[in-house]
């Protein structure tokens, strides 16, 4: 419970950002509440006048017009309140979305690799959205829940202290019992909703695996499992909900019973020859009694909004609280150079305690040469590339640029301008094919675009599309083949044309024609440049100037293809395996 309250506090802190709108909204709500009292007063006068003083319609008509005016005013206040509440939450939503995205970009691709992108997207969209009712309804209602009943009590007590006492006693009991029942229900609810999600996910899972189930002749049985899981889920959820619904039952109990109590007690006192209360007073109080409980009723509705807001906020704060990597050194002036060489000295890195990925890597990447990184998966190739890209900060050791400048002293944005990075599964972004290639140079003209595409063997297939470079990703129907995506990614790198290339070769089995085009484009791209290639194909390693073989976070051996073959080490064994000389 303490946890939910901590999140509450933090959310309220965020709420300060929009304090003005929040207070204004509360003011509007309070004004509307006070008008209700006035409205009840006038209504009681009208009815008392007609029923007990024999007044005609004409006689009460001025009061009726006043009443109509109040109705219009109240509607206007309610509408304005809605708009103000929206504005209050809009500011916070914008602020949080910007904070989240900024933070994620600073964290970098490696730090968020474990977080599922779909999950981050829904945190940023639905998660932030779920905060709206918290700020636009729950918080204002929290203020009104004490103010309006208090105002009503102040009016009722002078009129009839017995009714005032009934309201005074039953009112606070509601939040008390709601807290008592509600908090227990909250925990139950949250557990159940998670289970509900799983249930829906389970059904999707079964539907997606239908073909596999059919192969095993189990597809028809699964219908029973679907039914059984639904049933289990229903039973346990209902057990929780029955308790949770008690919250509203408690509210209803006190609200309905105290109205009944007020009515019966007033009725009993009216039923005397010299009654201690007048009908006017009795009716006025009776009109106010439901209004006394209305804010509380609203609170119970918005309580659910609070619950989902807290769940969403938890996830939002989790992301915002992910620590940014420390910048160990002051950024220094770095002037871009046209030739880059890299030296790696005793580099250590671990993703988490006890799971070390690099254990003292020493390597050199000379300028103008192609270096291939080779090794089994998990050997540390990708981690080393991430360190060279500045996505992760080594815990020990250093990377030197051009022999003297430590990499972590260079502003990342400056460093990234010096290189092009082509990952194993390049991603095409929402937009046109042209935009995708231009991503590193938005101002490139069509001639430059065509040249880059031509170099990457992508021009032909792009120009064969009806819309050419203007073809939108996502309108492609079947989509592009793996090889075509690779070639677009290479075209990007061609267009950027920086002094350093870091490439992670595709492992996917491209079909033969594609494979040869991709390999050819890649060779053309890196020949004679400083390039670091994580090689998954023997042909790529063979053509590199230099090969670094990694094993278990260290450099196992390095040298040219021929040297390493002659040495008969890890590399020679791998080559034999690729060639199928070890019989399967």
């Amino acid at each position: 419970m303490a946890k939910a309250e901590r999140i509450d506090q933090r959310l309220m802190q965020e709420g300060r950002r929009t304090r003005g709108a929040l207070y204004f909204g509360i003011g509007l709500g309070l004004a509307a509440g006070l008008l209700i009292i006035l409205q009840a007063f006038i209504l009681a006068h009208i009815i008392n006048g007609v029923s007990f003083q024999g007044l005609s319609l004409a006689a009460v008509m001025p009061l009726l017009w006043a009443l109509l005016g109040l109705f219009v005013l109240r509607a206007a206040l309610s509408w304005a309140g809605e708009l103000v509440a929206f504005r209050a939450s809009a500011r916070i939503k914008t602020y949080l979305r910007e904070q989240l995205l900024n933070h994620l970009l600073k964290l970098g691709p490696v730090a968020i690799a474990g977080e599922r992108s779909a999950d981050i997207a829904s945190t940023m969209i639905e998660g932030v959205e779920a905060l709206e009712p918290y700020f636009s309804r729950y918080l204002p209602q929290m203020a009104l829940v004490s103010l309006i009943p208090l105002a009503i009590l102040m009016v009722v007590f002078p009129e009839d202290w017995i009714s005032g006492l009934i309201l005074l006693i039953t009112g606070p009991l509601i939040p008390f019992f709601m807290v008592l029942v509600g908090y227990a229900a909250e925990a139950v609810n949250q557990r159940q909703w998670r289970k509900m999600l799983l249930m829906s996910a389970h059904f999707l899972d079964v539907v997606q695996g239908l073909t596999t189930l059919k192969i095993f002749g189990r597809a028809k049985d699964e219908i029973e499992i679907v039914a059984r899981i639904s049933d289990d889920y229903r039973r346990s959820t209902m057990a929780g909900l029955r308790v949770a619904f008690l919250t509203s039952a408690v509210l209803e109990f006190f609200a309905s019973l105290s109205i009944a109590l007020v009515a019966v007690s007033l009725g009993a006192r009216l039923l005397q020859v010299h009654a201690s209360v007048t009908f006017f007073t009795a009716f006025f109080v009776l009109l106010l009694a439901p209004e006394y409980f209305n804010p509380l009723r609203g609170l119970s509705t918005h309580y659910h909004a609070r619950m989902s807001a807290i769940a969403a906020a938890k996830r939002i704060f989790e992301i915002l609280d992910m620590p940014l990597p420390e910048k160990p050194r002051q950024a220094v002036e770095y002037s871009p150079s046209t030739e880059i060489s890299l030296v790696v000295r005793n580099l250590h890195f671990s993703y988490e305690a006890g799971r070390s990925a690099l254990e003292g890597v020493n390597a050199e990447f000379p300028a103008g040469k192609v270096t291939a990184l080779v090794g089994a998966s998990g050997a540390g190739k990708s981690t080393l590339a991430s360190a060279l890209l500045g996505f992760v900060q080594a815990s020990e050791g250093e990377i030197l640029v051009n022999g003297q400048m430590p990499l972590n002293a260079i502003e990342p944005e400056l460093w990234w301008k010096q290189l092009a990075w082509v990952p194993q599964n390049p991603r095409l972004f929402h937009g046109s094919l042209g935009d995708n290639i231009r991503i590193g140079r938005p101002d490139a003209d069509l001639a430059a675009l065509r040249e880059a595409a031509q170099n990457a063997h992508a021009l032909e297939f792009i120009e064969n599309l009806p819309d050419g470079f203007e073809t939108m990703i996502g309108d492609l129907g079947q989509g592009l083949s793996g090889g075509q995506i690779q070639r677009i990614a290479l075209a990007r790198a061609f267009l950027k044309n920086p002094p350093l290339f870091i490439l992670d070769e595709a492992t996917a089995n491209l079909d033969m024609e594609n494979e040869s085009l991709v390999l050819d484009a890649m060779q053309k791209l890196i020949a004679g440049r400083t390039a670091i290639v994580i090689a998954h194909r023997l042909a790529t390693a063979e053509r590199a100037d230099h090969i670094i073989v990694m094993d278990a976070g260290r450099v196992a051996e390095s040298g040219s293809h021929q040297e390493l073959l002659a040495a008969g080490g890890v590399y020679a064994r791998m080559v034999a395996a690729y060639r199928g000389e070890i019989h399967v």
């Binding site: 007990f52 970009l105 992108s117 829904s122 209902m238 009944a260 009109l287 092009a420 033969m512």
Partner: protein, 583 residues
Amino acid sequence: MSDYIRLLKLFFPYKFWMLGGAFLALLTILSNFGLLALSGWFLASAALAGLGGYATLNLYNFFLPAAGVRAFATTRVISRWLERVITHEATFRLLAQLRSWFYSRLEPLAPAGLQGYRSGDILSRLVADIDTLNNFYLRVFTPFLVAGMATVLMSGFFAFFSWHLAIALFLFLSVSGLALPFVAERLGARSGAEMTDLQSDYRVQIVDGMQGMGELLTYGAGPEILRRSHTLNDAILQRQAKMAQISGLGTAGMSFMGNLAIWVILILAIPLIHGGHLGPSDLPMFALGVMGSFEAIVALPLAFQFLGQTRQAARRIFAVADSALPFPDASGPAPKVQQPDLLLKNLHLRYPGGQQDALAGLDLHIVAGSKVAILGATGAGKSSIANLLLRFYDYQSGSAQFGGHELKNFPADDLREYFAVVSQRSYLFHTTIRDNLLVAKGDAEEEELWEALAAAQLDDFVRSQPDGLDTIVGEGGVKLSGGQGRRVAIARAILKNAPWLVLDEPTEGLDPLTEMEFLRDLQPLMQGRTVLYITHRLLGLEQMDRVFIMDEGRVVESGTFAELLKQGGQLSHFATFRNGASA
């Protein structure tokens, strides 16, 4: 409308739950109406009796109305709680019913009839549609039914006193309950639709940004992502502001209508009372009664929103459920198979909607117990052979005999018992390793599972996991590496223990070293079985008794691997890639 009728027919078995919940909801609303109206009348009549002196006082029955007030209050408390319990219980039962029904319609369609729905997106939308339909009862059916009945009953009560009042109340409730939310929903519909589009754009941008962050950052596009996010956020907020205006008008309008109803009823009733047609104590009853009556239509604005959503969802769901079966399944007992040979003669298979035959006059003979590889480029028709054997797709002409019987004569489920399949598409369910294995053999003992895992070389890994066999594999098996996932598929094939083993590009997507190990570990599984190894790679072909090379739906060359190498035909073309230039 017909979609709703169909939906209600589906829900028919649960009619008592549904109507029970609705009845309790009605009771809750009526008891509130009763509580307020009776209280108003009671106060006025008691006051009148008090003013009338002892004579009237002694005639006045205090206990009946007082007890009535308390009874209404108690009824409301109990029926409110029961209503929520019952309607939610009903909702869950209906959801289970919907899922079972939908699954039973979907199952015979897969995979041929679901070709258009293959992508995860569309499937998950269908599943979400089911969840949306589930709102139909709680958010659409019950509110409309209850609002309608309560309106009639409450207006009917007013009719005892005056037709004018009854008609006024009826009109006010109808207009506020139906017209107002309808107009608000229409006004908001466009912004709502635009917002859905914008939000899905936003999602694409963020997913792009997260999955492609490395590229975006290194290409200097970080500020661009921030800018785009800002623009989309603004656009979304703009639509939301519009919707807040509309919904604000709706809310304010609803409460204004409620107040206006009181006002009009007063105008109508005051002359009646002043003229002595109605008693003085009726006036407070009318005023409070109208106040209570508007609770009946409070849920309707939301119901209108869900009405549109559920209509769309129902349409999509029924469209899938009504798809015609791709081809009829054979009925009756399966033909007896002595020797599971396969003989294809001049076979033609074309996929529904396809432009050309995937198998175009294929001749193929696979003798039981032999190991055969089918080699070919993407689109040569290799995988169509697997689809043919598993009766996922029907063939149009030619003959396909399995064990001497035409494939068309086998009920599909019986035919599939002869085949175990390992492919890149082998699906891992988001559950434990144990459950994933039990898919292949529901009654397998724990020991059998471990044996299968050992044969698939996965036992060490599973043992090293803290939860062992109960390790959750994650969505689509994400918590396992590619090779491990494929090994689970092997273990399943072992458990199934079928006479034929179909390896449909089993190493697709694995890196070369993992691929080597994987193929090596498949060897024991091949012993004593008929093996059909479908591949576009040259790896592992030496072990095969015969290699068929396919192109454009036909076999173009065949022989042992060594023979084909010597001939230097198509095969040599496959050999130049992947291996070094010097191979």
